[in-house]
């Protein structure tokens, strides 16, 4: 086939349009996008959030879930704009509160797969309290946290995961606050599945997201990304492709880390990818269901 480029039509100002020639049918991933939503997506050219969206859809597809059985609950921010493009039950809530809304939804519909989609600021700053309690309860929710270490949507303010000394619009002289280790936090608070990968390692993301959703309890997947538009520009880190390359060069798999000498491990600064927690713990809605049975007089 010689014609690899489907015709580019002129887009109306401020409008997207429905794609021609059955683009949605080309792959299972595209199939799960909303056909009544306007594309292209609102994210900047090269933003990693779109990559995470692809990984999420492939994971849901791999698990064979029915679209009606999936609910996406998002907070506020660039990452939280993800659900709008996907053909599931989608709830776009208030900043930092996705996990609290998701808790109510999961308790009302324990049979649904509830996935909370949040950025680093949304989940760990304003949402920090809900994050640790959802983990403590082992609430049956998958928390997909896209960590680009900045508040992107509002123009580049520092977040609880911005590296020390990094520049941001509200840290013009360099960030003096040490960042949160998201995965350690999640593990300490009680999450039963915790994993981290990067948008360079998209297929590994697919796998972790799949496992996270399949885990009955509270799962956390940290998808390390980049914001070349704000953080990248303020810290002179180059284009999206440059920052993608940096993720490749500055991350290390758990197995490779395990082979380092203790001295090298102690001085490691690369992003550690892998599954850190994968345990069986009673999941909240199951425990409450047993409570109901007990209270109603049956055998728990």
């Amino acid at each position: 086939m010689e014609n690899h480029i489907l015709e580019a039509h002129d887009l109306e100002e401020n409008e997207g349009q429905m794609p021609a020639e059955n683009w949605f049918e080309r792959s299972e991933t595209l199939h799960k996008l909303r056909k009544n939503k306007k594309f292209p997506t609102i994210w900047c050219s090269g933003c990693g959030i779109g990559i995470v969206m692809g990984a999420l859809i492939r994971a849901i597809d791999h698990l064979g879930l029915k679209n009606d059985d999936v609910a996406l609950v998002a907070g506020i921010g660039c990452t939280a704009r993800m659900p709008i493009y996907m053909d599931f039950n989608t709830l776009h809530t208030t900043h930092g509160r996705a996990l609290a809304f998701a808790t109510g939804l999961k308790i009302a519909r324990p049979d649904m797969k509830v996935i909370a989609i949040m950025g680093d600021g949304d989940a760990l700053a304003i949402g920090g309290n809900h994050f640790i309690h959802a983990a403590r309860r082992n609430m049956g929710i998958t928390a997909l946290v896209v960590n680009n270490a900045i508040y992107g949507m509002t123009g580049g303010q520092y977040s609880p995961t911005t590296p020390l000394n990094g520049r941001a619009t509200t840290a013009p002289y360099g960030n003096i606050e040490p960042p949160f280790p998201i995965c350690d936090l999640a593990a300490a608070a009680g999450a039963s599945y915790v994993a981290r990968s990067t948008v360079y390692h998209a297929l590994e993301l697919d796998k972790f997201i799949s496992e996270a959703i399949a885990n009955d309890g509270f799962s956390v997947v940290e998808a390390v990304s980049y914001c070349h538009t704000t953080y990248g520009r303020l810290n002179k880190l180059g284009t999206a492709a440059d920052m993608m390359r940096a993720l490749k060069d500055n991350s290390i798999s758990q197995s490779a880390y395990g082979r380092l000498t203790p001295k090298d491990q102690a001085s490691n600064t690369k992003v550690l990818r892998g599954t850190f927690v994968n345990i069986q713990r009673p999941q909240y809605t199951t425990v409450y269901s047993n409570l109901i049975t007990r209270v109603q007089g049956g055998q728990p």
Partner: protein, 86 residues
């Protein structure tokens, strides 16, 4: 590094010729592509190319596609799909 893929291998006497050609079919939906160049810069056999000022990549070496799927799993806009060819 020499592009060994572009040199035809001489068939050994007595052996059938090795099947050549692309292992994947590249389709790009230009209206969704925002020209971020991730696919261009990371494609191992350099199937795609994009000059400064162009809106979206061109498929310049379609026969070299190995269906590694790097581009369609890393396109932030889901604007490129690789179909595996038999």
């Amino acid at each position: 590094m020499p592009d060994i893929l572009s040199q035809p291998s001489a068939p050994s006497p007595g052996l059938a010729p090795v099947k050549k050609g692309p292992r994947g079919e590249v389709i790009l939906y230009a209206n969704w592509c925002k020209g971020c160049r991730i696919c261009v810069e990371f494609c191992p056999p350099k199937v795609l190319a994009m000059d400064p000022g162009e809106d979206h990549p061109r498929v310049v070496l379609p026969d070299k596609c190995t269906a590694c799927h790097f581009c369609d799993t890393h396109c932030p806009d889901l604007a490129i799909v690789i179909r595996k060819l038999d």
